[in-house]
């Protein structure tokens, strides 16, 4: 036997959990204003998260998937992207979506059971939340193929969870993207849990990043609670894609501090003490500590930001709650570019039986 190929998997971190730099920061992170904007985006996403759960608990929102503790992955990914890039998220990436221009009202509409929540006024090319696991890896490869063939600027960026890396869609999409050297960046939000299944039972692989090796593409692991590391890694992947060097797989290590969704009770399968210990690694406090250390942040600024985020979220909630429901026949709209003749009768039936104004619209 002889070794015919050998590989290694790199790991990157800039700020440790105490906000101590572990190496020289990348260029973008030397500007405090940039870091403050990343910090604000994470705080806003967390404020939204808290509010959305409260809305669900009070019957004003449907099932909601919290991103608590994983804000750095969304914010780091989306802020590394350009407008012409395309984001293909899972259902847990509102932190990324808000940075892309998706509004909080739209996100609430979606989780509140209204299709109009996926008709983004901004980020028109971004895909809606992908609920079936890792299917968007294939879509992202297709978007990347189209960009390349049409000689359009732009890179496809998809985000999915650690559970997604067990799926065929992930392997198939990544493998094809490797063969075609597509402009694609795949980000694994490794939050250690796929509903109740821990990372240790998801795969015997030591890292998820190493799955890139099998596809013959670039792959590495970063501290997903370090927004600087995430943004730098995604930026590196985007640069490679723009240069024609093909796809990149980035495993971002984080932790799901909340339940899977509001329909889940994680105490059934994991020890709350384990979760409490993970709070020391979360991404928001880490960056705040660093900003305070360099004199760019203080208590006053923090209080002002929290007030501002709270107002912003409350305005979005008001706008969401004030949005009139769709008509009953909206379910026939956009099914096809043009409603087929045979469906007219069903549409008329839906109209005939639709609740009139003042009646219960069937919403929660």
């Amino acid at each position: 036997m002889k070794t015919i190929a050998s590989f290694d998997v790199q790991y990157d971190q800039f700020l440790d959990s105490e906000g101590e730099p572990q190496q020289a920061l990348p260029e973008f992170a030397r500007d405090p204003a940039t870091l403050i904007s990343l910090y604000c985006a994470m705080v806003l996403a967390r404020g939204f998260d808290t509010k959305a759960i409260a809305l669900q608990r009070t019957g004003k929102l449907g099932t909601f998937a919290s991103a608590l503790g994983q804000e750095a992955i969304g914010v780091g990914t989306a802020t590394a992207m350009r407008a012409e890039d395309v984001l293909l998220p899972s259902y847990r990436e509102h932190a990324a979506q808000f940075c892309r221009g998706v509004s909080m009202r739209e996100s609430l509409l979606y989780w509140g059971g209204d299709e109009r929540g996926s008709d983004y006024a901004e980020a028109r090319q971004d895909f809606p939340n992908c609920v079936t696991i890792a299917a968007q890896v294939c879509h992202a490869a297709g978007v990347a193929y189209a960009k390349k063939l049409r000689h359009e600027a732009g890179v496809a960026v998809c985000i999915f969870g650690d559970g997604g890396t067990s799926k065929g869609d992930f392997y198939e999409g990544m493998n094809l993207a490797g063969v075609c050297r597509l402009p694609l960046v795949m980000v694994v939000n490794n939050n250690q849990w796929a509903i109740s299944l821990p990372r240790s039972l998801q795969s015997a692989a030591r890292t998820l990043a190493q799955k890139a090796i099998a596809a013959g593409i670039e792959g590495f692991q970063v501290d997903g609670n370090d927004v600087i590391a995430v943004r730098e890694a995604v930026g590196r992947g985007l640069d490679r894609a723009r240069a024609g060097d093909g796809p990149t797989l980035i495993e971002a290590l984080s932790y799901r501090l909340g339940d899977h969704t509001t329909a889940d009770d994680a105490t059934r399968y994991r020890d709350p003490e384990t979760v409490n210990r993970q709070w020391q690694f979360e991404p928001v406090a880490r960056l705040r500590k660093y900003l305070a250390r360099i004199g760019a942040w203080d208590k006053e600024k923090e209080e002002a930001l929290l007030r501002e985020c709270s107002e912003c979220v409350n305005q979005a909630v008001e706008a969401y709650l004030a949005t009139p429901p769709q008509s009953g026949t909206a379910m026939f709209d956009h099914l096809y570019a043009e409603l087929p003749a045979g469906l007219q009768a069903q549409r008329e039936e839906a109209f005939r039986f639709a609740p009139r104004d003042g009646e219960n619209h069937g919403g929660s």
């Binding site: 395309v86 996926s118 008709d119 294939c138 879509h139 490869a141 978007v143 049409r150 496809a156």
Partner: protein, 326 residues
């Protein structure tokens, strides 16, 4: 005009689409240098390049899922699944994504893709190469499900499918690929989707079928004509969205209807037609609607496949029973 069989007509339509629209791309297994296992794409990679006629890795989910992404990003992908027996891994991508991308984004994104796949029994193929799962797709809102029954309709319906703004599943009956030729004009004209085609007008009984089974259905109509029975023969062609009105009009005149399909009977698309007639055409009927279909069994291997597929004799038997009702 050229004398072409069905697989050559498919090739001609694909070449036409690739020529007239730079956004059309083909993808699938062995479609490039090999020209497809049935030669449906023969010569196209040499003419249009390996990027537009893309030999994919062996991964059906990726073929469908990548096509969804391509379509949403401005291309017009025409994906091939080598046999319908291999189509089941793509159900998630087609049902959960292709069919509803327009709907769930309120028209912001759409999915103008075609998924081609050779279907049906009768060519002595190996296991998993003889299925007719059209009813699975005809059940899915947001899709079109199309099956041509001749070279002329294969050309026109495939062009229509590629130009359609929504996802189309396009099954090609393998038994017809080389069975007969027709004059096919390469005029770039699409045939209408969402409508049945009346192949033969008649007054005594309506025979409804699609795809390869129209061969047996037309042969049965010939035999009945010799006996003085006038058959109206309808090719459904597009099963989803379904044009019931053409069949209702016909049955209003004939009062009798036999539905012929190769797929297993229970839950097959014939049930949808029969239910439509029961709901909207009952007062026209002089005899019970009958379905002549594949039996509710696994499609057998080659030695029994012709006993599985509806025969002319089975169609005649059903028709004669219907004609016995005064």
């Amino acid at each position: 005009m050229a004398d072409l069989n069905l697989v050559e007509a498919v090739n001609l339509a694909l070449a036409r689409a690739l020529t007239s629209d730079p956004n059309v791309v083909l993808l699938g297994e062995d479609i490039g240098a090999n020209g497809g296992v049935f030669r449906a794409t023969v010569g196209l990679q040499a003419r249009f390049g390996a990027e537009r006629v893309f030999d994919t890795p062996l991964a059906e989910t990726a073929i469908a899922g990548v096509a969804v992404g391509m379509a949403a990003a401005g291309l017009r992908p025409v994906a091939e699944i080598q046999f319908t027996g291999f189509i089941y891994p793509v159900l998630d991508q087609i049902v959960n994504h292709a069919s509803r991308l327009r709907y769930r984004t309120r028209g912001r994104l759409s999915c103008p893709m075609v998924l081609r796949s050779p279907c049906g029994a009768g060519i002595h193929a190996p296991e998993h190469h003889s299925e007719s799962p059209e009813a699975l797709f005809a059940h899915i809102p947001g899709l079109r499900m199309v099956i041509p029954s001749s070279p002329v309709r294969a050309y026109g319906l495939l062009l229509a499918a590629i130009r359609d703004p929504d996802p189309v599943i396009f099954f090609e009956p393998t038994r017809l690929y080389r069975l007969f030729k027709q004059d096919v004009a390469d005029n770039g004209e699409a045939l209408p989707l969402d409508t049945c085609f009346v192949l033969r007008e008649g007054t005594d009984i309506t025979l409804v079928s699609w795809g390869a089974m129209l061969q047996e259905t037309l042969a049965a109509a010939d035999r009945l004509a010799e006996e003085g029975v006038s058959c109206e023969v309808i090719d459904v062609a597009t099963l989803k969205p379904f044009d019931l009105s053409t069949i209702l009009d016909s049955v209003a005149r004939t009062g009798r209807c036999i539905i012929v399909h190769e797929a297993a009977k229970s839950g097959g698309f014939g049930a949808e037609i029969a239910a439509g007639l029961a709901e909207q055409g009952l007062t026209s009927l002089l005899a019970p609607v009958q379905r002549v279909a594949g039996y509710d069994v696994v499609v057998p291997l080659a030695r029994l496949e012709y006993q599985y597929m509806p025969s002319v004799e089975r169609i005649l038997s059903a028709a004669r029973q219907a004609l016995e009702f005064a």
